[in-house]
């Protein structure tokens, strides 16, 4: 079997960029306010402060941009973690950082701070992500291998989920519990430019750290010893990767809640197209993650009536069957 499914880098990135541009445009055009599609793009740069311009500039553009940034983060982080662990089943939530971020935000809900000061939510989320990463590093950072890292991540994740469940359990009212539960389902609705300004620096720093590990991940294809003999300091690689995921995914979860499956499915889907090479999968998964998240967020807005459909629910509803399909197809292909 040879590398038939692989695309040339120019064709691949051309196609992914086109897909992202289409999803971005469609996401701008989608929403309950009826603005003719042709006017949407005119209103992007309109200075007239008309209602339509405000809807596009202050509601749809931040929502779309944030969706793309979060999707790119989840795709990139998933691809990097799968490369480090050499396991296609890894996803960014595995190391406990997302769970920590969710718990940090839930504390802000629970304590009532979020009601008084809206940005407390993402700030609490980032604090939670940092706390989880610090615990992870203390448990598995120094001299331990990848297995310890996974086990410590699972333990931290379980603890964070348990504490989140405790907060739900002890919520002062049913309304508060429902608010927390809905936030945990993940959404990019009603986000503002402030959310983007808050999350973007952390995401960008995280992306750079993750992208810097590309060649080490290639070398890890042949195992840890071979990678070390090729001149890579695996402790530094592991540290950059954990820190990159903490900053980027922590910021993403802090502004959006939990969004499942993007980090798992996207790298899996794109891997054959990059010839299975971990370094080339990183940027491709960022593009693919952004597109998938925007597409899911468009689906969310196709059902405007009734309670808001949550983005995390849609990504899981699309992601899980699709993942199952991929697993079954892989099983048939490899005897």
């Amino acid at each position: 079997m040879s590398a038939r499914a692989e695309l040339s880098p120019a064709a691949l990135y051309g196609a992914l960029a086109l897909l992202l541009a289409l999803c971005f445009a469609a996401s701008l055009a989608a929403g309950p306010a009826e603005i003719p599609t042709a006017q949407v793009f005119g209103n992007l740069f309109a200075l007239d402060r008309s209602a339509a311009a405000l809807v596009v500039q202050e509601i749809r553009l931040p929502r779309t941009l944030l969706g793309a940034l979060i999707g790119a983060t989840l795709g990139l982080a998933g691809a990097a973690l799968q490369g480090l662990l050499r396991n296609p089943l890894a996803e960014p939530g595995l190391i406990g950082v997302s769970g920590g971020a969710a718990f940090g935000a839930v504390v802000m809900f629970y304590s009532g701070v979020a009601a008084a000061f809206p940005l407390a939510l993402p700030l609490g989320g980032m604090a939670g992500a940092l706390l989880a990463a610090t615990a992870l590093y203390a448990l598995a950072g120094r001299d331990s291998g990848i297995l310890t890292l996974i086990l410590a991540g699972i333990a931290i994740n379980s603890l964070a989920s348990a504490l989140t469940a405790l907060a739900l359990n002890l919520a002062p009212s049913q309304f508060a519990a429902l608010e927390i539960a809905f936030w945990l389902l993940g959404s990019v609705a009603d986000r503002t430019w402030q959310h983007i300004l808050l999350a973007l620096p952390f995401m960008a720093a995280g992306w750079l750290l993750l992208l810097s590990t590309g060649r080490a991940l290639d070398a890890l294809t042949l195992g840890e010893e071979t990678a070390a003999s090729l001149g890579f300091d695996l402790r530094s690689v592991q540290l950059r990767l954990i820190l990159g995921i903490t900053l980027a995914v922590g910021a993403a979860v802090a502004v959006s809640g939990g969004i499942a499956f993007v980090g798992l499915v996207v790298p899996h889907l794109l891997r054959p197209l990059v010839g299975h090479q971990p370094s080339r999968l990183l940027p491709a998964s960022a593009f693919g993650g952004a597109s998938l998240l925007l597409a899911s967020d468009i689906v969310v807005r196709l059902f405007p009536a009734g309670p808001e459909l949550k983005l995390g629910v849609v990504t899981a509803l699309i992601g899980a069957p699709f993942f199952l399909f991929l697993v079954l197809r892989t099983r048939r292909a490899v005897p």
């Binding site: 590398a3 070398a219 195992g223 010893e225 071979t226 090729l230």
Partner: protein
């Protein structure tokens, strides 16, 4: 001239010395076989020689400089290491696997150039894998995979090549094949160290053998001098048929004369 030297090297795990005061050296142009029973410390020693593991005591010198004083990447450009049972975790093409050998030569964001492409092609040729360049590394037979991994190491264009049991899973034909390639690399000037369990392969292909027993060097020198009835009985607890085919020695393990002491 000595390229790689271990001086009084000890490696301990949890206070237990696996390698205990080993002194040995390897020169360019030399194929050295590292032999010894299971648990003698061969893998630990070769990993330490490769700089993948730090010794607890003693020093490893590469080209006269302490290995810790060399930048990691500088060492990686001059020394290639083939880990035991190494496998390819993703279905990369053979050519991409071999190209990994060029990573130490590339600056972090630098793209491979003509030198790199030439080194990859010549490594594929040397390992007789050019026809497999577009095949997936995960779809190869054990013999083909061993040659692909050797080509990966050769693509580094290393001055020292260290391989831990590279022929362990191979049939006799592929074993001879691979040993011939190691020997050829030594003849072209590289210092080559190979961990072996097959004593006849060790006797026939290696210029020199180092026999490890319980972490120490039990015997060292020309194959005939190392593979004697006394050393084989002491190290492996076996009686062996030691003979010659033409001018070349062979060793056939015959029976156990003393059960290996169990901890």
């Amino acid at each position: 001239m000595t390229l790689l030297a271990a001086t009084n090297v000890s490696v301990a795990f949890n206070g237990h010395k696996v390698v205990d005061g080993v002194t040995m050296s390897i020169a360019g142009g030399e194929l050295v076989g590292l032999i010894g029973p299971n648990g003698a410390g061969k893998t630990t020693l070769i990993r330490t020689l490769a700089g993948v593991l730090r010794p607890t005591a003693g020093t490893i010198a590469f080209d006269g400089r302490a290995i810790d004083a060399l930048p990691r990447r500088a060492l990686a450009r001059r020394l290639a290491y083939m880990a035991q049972g190494a496998d390819c975790h993703w279905p990369l093409t053979v050519e991409r696997v071999v190209a990994l050998g060029r990573l130490p030569h590339l600056a972090p964001w630098q793209r491979p150039g003509d030198d790199d492409r030439r080194a990859i092609a010549s490594a594929l040729d040397a390992a007789d894998m050019a026809a497999f360049a577009e095949r997936r590394a995960t779809s190869l037979s054990a013999g083909e995979r061993a040659r692909a991994l050797l080509a990966r190491a050769l693509a580094v264009e290393p001055e020292a090549l260290l391989a831990d049991e590279p022929v362990a899973a191979l049939d006799p034909g592929h074993q001879l094949d691979l040993m011939t390639l190691f020997r050829a690399r030594a003849q072209r000037g590289a210092a080559v160290v190979v961990v072996l369990h097959d004593l006849s392969l060790a006797a026939r292909f290696c210029h020199r053998l180092v026999l490890l027993h319980e972490g120490r060097v039990l015997a060292e020198g020309a194959p005939e001098a190392v593979l004697t009835a006394a050393t084989l009985a002491r190290a492996y607890g076996i009686e062996a048929v030691i003979g010659r085919h033409g001018s070349e020695p062979y060793v056939v393990p015959w029976r156990v004369v003393r059960a290996e002491p169990r901890p």
